[in-house]
């Protein structure tokens, strides 16, 4: 550098010679500043992706430079997110490239005290050997003399964070191996949604899509903390608000959602059925229902059999209760003169009657099979279009909810009548031909012992108000993980096959036809179930599946009851289950009764954990809470543990299904580093190894494995299977091997194959439709050319109902799909959810079946009767109508049914480590006097695996805390920002105290009820650590779907930190003793 340039580079020189005499701008710039460019500008490529956290499914652009991801931000083209990302989405770069990621396989030998590194190939071989060994050792050919064809020795958990293609391979391989205990987060998250929505409408997904919220005139957010848990989706609430919508938030806490709402209604956790029932009462009492809609589109006019007795007649239970077993016989709930098979409910319930053959060993977990297809009705139910018959559904409903008065709502929920009145008024005023209201909920509703019924209550209300299938209407079920919808659709769930086909139960002499006969409906599209099932068997078993061998139907393992993740834990404790795969789930923190989860794992022979970091579920043997209390010693634990580092979404291609059933493709941006591999890779290469080892076997037990179609092209340095090939298999092939474009093309003769019938069309024309990304600015709000939604790319379900029976829109302000007389077909903004050319006037012939049996005014095409179900004659095991019961553990005596505290048929497993509390006015209930609810924070994600290790997110919510009202703080001497200990019969945890007016005591059940709020994201590992809320929760489940009750518990709180070591156990025990808890506490059916 010459002196001259040196001088010229001296800002003072530029000051003197340029326009910046004060040296405050141009003159002061350095050479580096002048050369500054954003790293996005210098990236080598931009790869299209999808946020891996929640189910809003925000689109991301991944910037890659020198084969490293250098930036991840929102893709402005997305119609749902429009380029925005919440704090988690914004932290994706740190998630995928941060130092918390592991890149080496680790191994803990039996009784070992530390990890050892292990070679990836060796580890894969070891796992394959263990699968084969354990399978053989635990093989069950029969149970109780009936063929079951399975192993209970193996189990797998996780899937909601994975791609659809990965879930598909997991389910396929494990089913091929005869493993039934295949589960994922859908169980603990939204399983009750599938049962609730499915029995009511015929499909278990949210009925609408996020952008359409803008068309709502009133939005009731209840059981969801929308702004915190789905922040980017919340922009559509704001859009509606900008257009004048009224926004109501019903939540025990005043949250970031309440802060933006017009009305916040504080409610006692666990009382929503009383609240919704109160609104139903209001609507019926004032005849404020949308009568033409109700009459034509719902089952209001159907006559119910005369044996039916309501809870109002039987002291809080429905007819059919077996008090000894705690189960209902559902026969008396049927329509008069028919038999109904609920497509989304317990489709196996009436197996005996429907098949007149065989013997049902056990029935369980079938309610979710109504995820896409309702329960069956045979025969013609009687109707009374005047709605006056006392046995018609409308009158039954009226009687059932007669006592759900504003005063009762006050008594049960703690909501003052004036506030309640406001909600009723807002809803009624904003429903009808010209206006629509939308309900938004999430796990504030699902996670209760009566969770399915919470959702049913909302369905009934929305049907009465005529809000389903219409723009701005519907029920928005906000799903959880990035692909939790996908992991229900292409399920890693014990009771489902892809597309909500039920897993077969063990029956004598069952063949494919009797299985279909028992599950399908006569009317509607669920009537074609055989085509879906046979095509699936072709996808699973390929050429081995032939008409002659019943398409390998016998290869499928059989259920004999519930094998949900919670039953799997019990099986682990019993020693039945010996090998366990955790693929993207962290039950040691995230599942109810975390302690039981760990104790179960400690009984395993071997455990495989695949994750990004060393989550609690991988390290409990070393540093789990039981080691701290001295209950377990690391040296005594015989479990062999394998840790495999997982590839991130930027390191693999695949599809996520978002909360609104949109299947969105994300592309590989870079290759995973070290031993990190996709779950697709893991499953494929595991399956390949197992098949190789069993190839020569002559044991018939190995036949299903040998028959399994397992050919996928691989590519790249790691031999990664081609995810698009898997997607194509899911989509299905026609007779000539061509990709199918609609499920209507599926055949039941074996000429078509399809891995998931509801996804048929996602690979239409051989094009990956899920990868479509036409910017939202170039299409309307429905955005039909962005990604692909099941079914058939429809965005609002049941949209036939957006038109009046005559086929014209109910109102020109709410036009969506209508009948085009000239063209002779349905048309509009969306794909019509109806037979495209069926005129509104069509009356099916008497003997028609399947879709042909649908009349021109049957908008619920997956329902057995084409109607939305106000009353569910089948499909649910705990009642045809929602009724208020108290949570399993509740300090409040049931104000509605003085003689029936809890749901009589709830699933409560009383075990040494899973004891329940005395409730209501039972002696000892005052030992746990407060209501606890658990929830999420914007800044963290679920069990924390994807956020607690991220410094950027950890610093925003750095410690576990509890939220209490000032009144409770005074009552218990809790200091703001000090410590408190929360105690239940299961455990005790400590948390920092936030005293806040956002928590308000309520008057309910004649007493002041204090609620304690606990986020559930923390655990002992990671960058920010803390006690897990699930040390407190119990395994008490909804009997329809086996979801746990973690939204309403009872507990005590006291100031100070919890004791360490064995004293912690003493504390919990002393509480149990004071409350007089034994194995019978809280387990009674009646009372």
């Amino acid at each position: 550098m010459g002196v001259r340039t040196w001088i010229q580079d001296w800002p003072v020189y530029r000051q003197l010679t340029g326009d910046d005499p004060l040296g405050r701008g141009a003159a002061a710039m350095s050479a580096r500043t002048r050369a500054l460019r954003p790293r996005t500008g210098t990236a080598d490529r931009v790869v299209k992706s999808v946020c891996p956290y929640c189910a809003v499914g925000c689109a991301q652009n991944v910037y890659v430079k020198d084969e490293k991801v250098v930036q991840i931000e929102g893709d402005p083209d997305s119609p749902v997110s429009r380029g925005r990302l919440c704090p988690k989405g914004s932290a994706t770069l740190q998630l995928t490239t941060g130092s918390a990621r592991r890149h080496q396989v680790l191994y803990r030998r039996p009784h070992g005290t530390d990890w050892e590194p292990l070679d990836l190939e060796t580890a894969m071989d070891m796992v394959a050997d263990r699968v084969i060994r354990t399978r053989r050792e635990t093989w069950q050919a029969e149970q109780d003399g009936v063929r079951v064809n399975r192993t209970l020795g193996l189990a797998s958990l996780g899937g909601a964070t994975l791609d659809n293609e990965e879930n598909y391979l997991i389910k396929k391989l494990f089913t091929g191996l005869g493993v039934v205990q295949v589960e994922n987060q859908a169980r603990v998250c939204h399983s009750s949604t599938v049962a609730g929505l499915g029995t009511s409408f015929g499909r278990g997904g949210a009925t609408t899509f996020l952008q359409d919220l803008q068309n709502a005139d009133c939005i009731v957010i209840e059981g969801s903390n929308f702004a915190e848990a789905h922040p980017v989706g919340f922009q559509w609430v704001m859009e509606a608000k900008a257009r004048g919508a009224t926004v109501i938030h019903v939540d025990p806490r005043f949250t970031r959602t309440s802060a933006l709402a017009d009305l916040h209604v504080p409610i006692r956790a666990g009382s929503d059925i009383a609240f919704l029932g109160g609104i139903i009462h209001h609507v019926l009492e004032n005849e404020a229902d949308f009568r033409p809609y109700v009459l034509e589109y719902t089952n209001a006019a159907m006559i119910v059999g005369e044996d039916f007795r309501d809870t109002e007649d039987l002291d809080g239970v429905f007819s059919g209760l077996h008090e000894e077993t705690g189960h209902y016989d559902v026969t008396s709930w049927q329509y008069e003169g028919t038999q109904v098979q609920a497509p989304s409910g317990e489709s196996d319930k009436l197996y005996d009657e429907r098949t007149h053959s065989g013997h049902s060993v056990s029935t369980s977990g079938q309610s979710e099979s109504h995820g896409s297809g309702g329960a069956a009705v045979s025969g013609q139910p009687h109707r009374d279009p005047t709605l006056r018959d006392p046995r018609c559904v409308y009158q039954i409903l009226k009687r059932h909810y007669a006592r759900y008065t504003p005063e009762m709502v006050h008594e049960v929920c703690g909501i003052p009548p004036e506030t309640f009145e406001k909600v009723c008024r807002a809803l009624v005023d904003n429903s009808g031909p010209d206006r629509t209201s939308e309900f938004v909920y999430a796990v504030g509703w699902t996670q209760h012992t009566v969770g399915s019924q919470y959702i049913r209550a909302a369905c009934i209300l929305q049907l009465l108000l005529g809000n389903i299938g219409r723009p701005g209407g519907g029920i928005q079920a906000l799903r959880g993980h990035a692909s939790i919808q996908g992991s229900s659709d292409i399920p890693t769930l014990f009771n489902l096959l892809p597309g909500y086909l039920p897993m077969p139960h063990a029956h004598r002499h069952e063949d494919l036809d009797s299985f279909i006969e028992a599950s399908k409906t006569d009317k509607g599209f669920w009537g074609n179930m055989r085509a879906y099932m046979v095509s699936l068997m072709k996808a699973y078993y390929g050429d081995a599946a032939t008409a002659a061998n019943d398409f390998c139907f016998d290869h499928l393992p059989r259920l004999t009851g519930s094998h949900s993740t919670y039953e799997t834990v019990l099986a682990q404790l019993d020693g039945t289950c010996k090998g366990y795969f955790l693929m993207g789930e962290n039950p040691a923190v995230g599942s109810a009764n975390a302690r039981m989860q760990r104790l179960g794992m400690a009984e395993l022979e071997w455990l495989v954990v695949r994750d990004f970091s060393l989550i609690e579920s991988a390290t409990w043997w070393k540093d789990g809470p039981e080691i701290e209390t001295g209950e377990r010693r690391t040296e005594d634990i015989a479990t062999e543990v394998f840790f495999f580092p997982a590839a991130a979404h930027t390191e693999k291609s695949g599809s996520f299904t978002n909360t609104n059933r949109w299947i969105q493709w994300h592309h590989t941006a870079v290759e995973p580093a070290g031993d990190a591999r996709s779950d697709l890779w893991f499953m494929y290469h595991l399956g390949r190894r197992i098949k190789e080892r069993l190839a020569a076997s002559t044991d018939p037990v190995d036949r299903p494995v040998q028959d399994l179609a397992w050919d996928y092209p691989v590519h790249g340095p790691t031999a990664e299977p081609d995810a698009e090939a898997v997607l194509a298999e899911i989509n299905g092939y026609g007779p000539g091997g061509e990709p199918l474009s609609a499920y209507t093309e599926l055949r039941d003769d074996g000429s078509t194959s399809c891995g998931c019938w509801i996804y048929c069309g996602v690979y239409a024309d051989g094009v990956n439709q899920a990868a479509r990304r036409k910017p939202h600015t170039e299409q309307d709000w429905v955005a039909a050319e962005w990604a692909w939604a099941w079914p058939a790319n429809r965005r609002i379900l049941y949209n036939r109902a957006s038109a009046a029976p005559d086929g014209t829109p109910w109102s020109e302000r709410k036009a969506y799909v209508w009948w085009d007389e000239e063209a002779g077909k349905w048309t509009g903004h969306d794909v019509p959810d109806f037979v495209p050319d069926r005129p509104p006037t069509y009356e099916p012939p008497e003997d028609a079946t399947g879709p042909d049996a649908l009349s021109g005014v049957d908008p619920f095409i997956m329902q057995a009767d084409g109607k939305g179900w106000l009353f569910a004659p089948a499909g649910l095991v705990d009642g045809p109508l929602p009724t208020h019961y108290e949570p399993q553990d509740s300090p409040v005596r049931n104000p509605l049914h003085a003689d029936q505290q809890r749901s009589p048929v709830r699933q409560a497993f009383s075990r040494e480590h899973n004891r329940f509390h005395p409730s209501g006015d039972e002696p000892g209930s005052d030992v746990y006097p407060y209501v606890v609810t658990t929830y999420r924070l914007t800044e963290h994600f679920t069990a924390g695996g994807m956020t607690r290790w991220s410094p950027y997110l950890a610093e925003l919510q750095p410690e576990m805390f509890c939220e209490v009202s000032p009144e409770l703080a005074v009552q218990r001497g809790l200091e703001h920002a000090g410590w408190a200990t929360v105690i239940t019969a299961r455990g005790a945890i400590e948390a920092r105290v936030l005293v806040t007016r956002r928590m308000a005591p309520l008057t309910a059940g004649g007493r002041t009820v204090h609620q304690i709020g606990l986020p559930y994201h923390w655990g002992p590992n990671g960058y920010t650590t803390g006690d897990a809320a699930n040390e407190l929760s119990a395994i008490a489940l909804d009997p329809n779907v086996h979801i746990q009750e973690v939204k309403a518990l009872s507990a005590d709180i006291r100031p100070g930190r919890r004791p360490r070591g064995p004293e912690l156990l003493d504390l919990v025990e002393s509480y149990r003793q004071r409350a007089g808890i034994d194995e019978n506490t809280g387990t009674e059916v009646r009372g």
């Binding site: 003072v12 068309n215 859009e239 900008a242 933006l260 017009d262 709000w781």
Partner: protein, 359 residues
């Protein structure tokens, strides 16, 4: 409400961006009159006590609110030792150069030599402290990268660039006994620049958002130059023979008077914002400074021209007094920055007066 929106057969009409959502707007759910205007409704409990108009605001308004008591502005990141020390040494050097020149002109050889040397030493020390306080000391030269009249520190840097070599030349040539003419010119130059060196540091701290400093910007330069005179007088008393101490005693009296008068005026004018000067650490330092300068001045007057040891002790007291003043001012600034009331209350009051004036 907004009947102008909906979905017709052509699609959505009446769309509005979500940012126009009216949160808290008139809605069907409310039967409450709107919440008050901003001036009526302050958060928290209010006792409604307000400073009477025209009266000097001595206590914070009762409706003072803050964000969890957190400061509004950032306190200086400077270390007290470095920066208050830098002010002290700069003052000592600057005023010392004036005394040196005076001594030289009036033939007080020893005093002149001593003060030239002390100024060089002081200015070197102050420079070292300044560099030490930099977060990136290696980049200290960037101080001369621009010529930025709006930055007192930049101006100060240029000033020091002129002063330090001058004072250095004065001292070195004096010590070496060579080039007397240049030495004299340097001595004179240093004496002219010296007062600027002593004064500019007051601008440096005055030109911040720190309430006790900024609001005191009129008097602080006098406090600083007075304090500089005290320090230089102290140094002279220590380093000169008693016979030459006359001007030093005078300078001590002058400096003490100037500094204490300026302080008093400042604190009175500042009122509430001046509180930190009297309270806490800075209050203690200030009282120590007062005591020390009173003692030093009295000692100088009584014995300064008679007793070498007493003169030196008085000088030390004066030096210490000056140091205490600088540290006190520094601490007062920090304290006023850390308590949001010193930022919020005067600004609120200003707005109130403005509104009253507008009305």
């Amino acid at each position: 409400m907004m009947s102008g929106s909906g979905v017709d057969r052509d699609g959505v009409y009446g769309e509005r961006p979500g940012r126009e959502a009216v949160v808290g707007g008139e809605q069907s759910v409310s039967d409450r009159p709107p919440s008050g205007t901003p001036s009526e409704r302050g958060p928290g409990r209010r006792r409604g006590r307000r400073g009477r108009r025209g009266e000097r605001l001595m206590v914070p308004e009762a409706e003072f609110t803050s964000y969890y008591g957190r400061p509004v502005i950032n306190a200086p990141t400077w270390s007290a030792r470095d920066i208050a020390g830098y002010f002290f040494l700069g003052g000592l050097a600057g005023a010392g150069s004036v005394l040196a020149a005076g001594a030289e002109l009036t033939g007080r050889k020893a005093m002149a030599r001593a003060l030239k040397v002390s100024s060089l030493a002081a200015i070197s020390g102050s420079g070292a402290l300044l560099v030490h306080d930099l977060g990136r000391p290696a980049r200290f030269a960037n101080m001369l990268r621009v010529f930025r009249p709006t930055s007192p520190m930049n101006m100060g840097s240029w000033l020091l660039t002129a002063y330090a070599p001058t004072a250095g030349a004065a001292a070195v040539l004096e010590a070496a006994g060579r080039l007397p003419r240049i030495g004299r010119a340097a001595t004179g130059g240093a004496a002219l620049l010296g007062p600027a060196v002593a004064a500019y540091t007051a601008v440096l701290i005055g030109d911040t958002a720190v309430p006790a400093w900024h609001d005191g910007h009129r008097e602080l330069p006098f406090v600083f130059t007075g304090s500089a005179a005290v320090a230089a007088a102290g140094m002279a008393l220590i380093a000169s023979p008693v016979a030459e101490n006359g001007p030093a005693v005078g300078a001590a009296v002058f400096g003490t008077a100037l500094e204490s008068a300026a302080s008093r005026i400042m604190e009175r004018r500042l009122g509430f914002v001046g509180e930190p000067y009297q309270q806490g650490k800075s209050g203690r330092l200030k009282r120590a400074a007062q005591g020390l300068s009173a003692a030093g001045t009295a000692g100088a007057l009584l014995w300064g021209r008679r007793n070498r040891i007493a003169a030196a002790l008085s000088g030390a007291a004066l030096l210490a007094a000056s140091a205490c003043t600088r540290f006190g001012v520094f601490q007062a600034g920090v304290a006023s920055a850390e308590d949001p009331k010193y930022t919020v209350v005067p600004q609120r009051e200003r707005l109130r007066k403005q509104a009253a004036g507008d009305a």
